[in-house]
Symmetry: C2
Subunit: 356 residues, 2 copies
């Protein structure tokens, strides 16, 4: 039996063992989102390490695509190995990992090629700075930036670094009005790029939930995604019941800089295809022989559909079959694209097809 | 000769002395924006104090409508008197001033009526807090909020105040990721309101310009306005020439909170009609006998048109006749509304009609 779907107009059928066998015969590369797919927080999804080990044993090439900009490739590889997902160690560690910190660095290397000693003003983590430094882009601005003075004139006269060619916005717990003001001032300089690692409006859940209380896979995760904001789709109304929610994500910070600078950022992470282009350049991907596996319709599945990959939704994370049905029944062409070819309860469901 | 225009479909004719005489005969109230209309920074527009003095002498009622949330009514009244614009002193000082700090307080008083000892979490100035306190809403959170801990779990376990019924976002130079996270946590509580003082993406120019260099009335002021952001109208592309620009405004901060909380804020300032409703309640306004005078098409003039007032654009501030023409020629129904009935080079142009 041949795999029943692929590309646009996915039907979201359950990936039975029989269908999984047919699908896997046709593919040589599987790309995985991490949070909500392989693990939640520091706990592996049961059976997921075994599934990946079996895929590796069958000679499948694996890649890990994450919007998290707070870890280097090497740090992600270490977590993959620690939780039992294997992968190369030593000098090759991290070659399977495509995070937004690394891919942002590749993007800047391309866009700033030829600039002597370029610098980036980084609203982000030390990991993001480290990936930029590794490709020859000096990172300035990481860490707290105290408010200087008590008037607009004072804020605008704080010294700027020379040779800053880009403002990079990732996840930054030290984000502040002073940083926003500096970012805008850099962006007024000729040719200064504005790059956002991703547009997620919330951080990923840590250990499934942050705050004590009823904790399901979807607890507190907003349905929003990259199109949130004033003129985007309707925001979720306040419901009568409080529920815990993860803290604000990178998208909120990118949005603030975009509005202040009156410019759009180039977005690296899912569902932007730039992150897939990075994988494609390093892996030599044939989209027809590649599967994208993820837990979010609006990032993972949309990326897969946009790039012509086969797509599998796993129900261990954010999106539910109800969300799929809403998209299938939507009048919106863009939401209709956010439908996977297949779904599994967990990627452990791949095991029977791999153990015969 | 009767005034030639009024209401929607303004024609933007020059307000000659003859037309001004006809117009003023038909109106009893004039509402003025302040920055760019009466003054720039600490300097009055030449002839503007005399024009207002003459209007007062003719028995016209004046009101001052500003999106600035960083001053109390009393502080604005003091500035008006200091720069020669007159107005009541003593206990009645500030009765002519409708700023977003005061109007936000009125809004909360209405919405929180009946709540015992309500509090608001305020991302904003001490002035905003003072106006809230004056109507019985305790303000918490003003000033710096240091990052507590180095993990999402730590950020989410910082203590919250009890009885917070609203999150108010005004201009806050101490805005930070920690404040954003606290705001979202308050907003998850049942019935907690989200209120933004205004959506301006930049602060008003101070003294016409902030940074040494060529300084015209429009220098560095972005054309964006309240609809900025990812899914709004196209953002201005980067041009090759650097130009100074005022720092980020309240709208950027409101946007970040909206995206993080996945909710729309209730916006008080221009062009939202709530600020006009405040004036109307206190003044008993007849829109047909009222003029709105401002320097911005997307806030002042749009507010006037929306509320059925006569409108005058003054060219001493942000918007130009070129901007008017662009709106007139636009295919967008909303931009076509941003056309005033009349324009003047400066409100000093009203003087000849008042001195006969």
């Amino acid at each position: 039996m041949a795999a029943e779907a692929g590309g646009r107009g996915g039907r979201c059928v359950r990936l039975s063992a029989e269908r999984a066998r047919a699908l896997l015969a046709d593919v040589d590369t599987l790309l995985f989102d991490c949070d909500g797919v392989l693990w939640r927080g520091e706990t592996a999804v049961p059976g997921a390490p075994e599934a990946l080990t079996a895929l590796r044993a069958r000679g499948k090439r694996l890649g890990f695509i994450t919007n998290n900009s707070s870890k280097t490739r090497a740090a992600y590889a270490e977590k993959l190995r620690r939780l039992g997902f294997g992968g190369p160690a030593g000098p090759g560690a991290g070659l399977e990992v495509f995070g937004t910190a690394y891919c942002t660095a590749l993007y800047l290397r391309q866009r700033l090629a030829g600039a002597p000693a370029p610098k980036a003003y980084v609203l982000g983590s030390p990991a993001l700075a480290a990936e930029l430094e590794a490709v020859g882009v000096a990172a300035v601005g990481v860490g707290p930036e105290p408010l200087q003075g008590d008037s607009p004139a004072a804020w605008l006269s704080a010294p700027l670094e020379p040779d800053v060619r880009a403002v990079v916005v990732g996840f930054d717990p030290h984000f502040s009005y002073m940083k926003l003001t500096k970012a805008v001032r850099y962006l007024q300089q000729p040719g200064c790029l504005l790059v956002g690692t991703n547009m997620d409006n919330r951080l990923p859940l840590e250990n499934g939930c942050f705050i004590a209380g009823p904790c399901a896979g979807r607890a507190g995760r907003a349905a929003g995604g990259p199109a949130g904001g004033r003129a985007g789709r309707p925001l979720r109304p306040l419901t009568g019941r409080p529920r815990p929610s993860p803290p604000a994500g990178t998208g909120c910070l990118v949005h603030a800089v975009e509005m202040a600078a009156q410019r759009r950022a180039d977005i690296i992470g899912k569902p932007s295809r730039f992150i897939f282009d990075c994988v494609s350049q390093e892996y030599g991907i044939d989209p027809e022989r590649t599967v994208m596996v993820g837990d979010r319709l609006d990032t993972d599945i949309l990326l897969g559909v946009t790039c012509g990959l086969k797509t599998i939704l796993t129900l261990t994370g954010v999106s539910s079959l109800g969300d799929v049905q809403s998209n299938q029944e939507s009048d919106s062409a863009s939401r209709k694209e956010m439908v996977p070819d297949f779904y599994v309860d967990s990627i452990a469901d791949l095991l029977p097809a791999l153990q015969d």
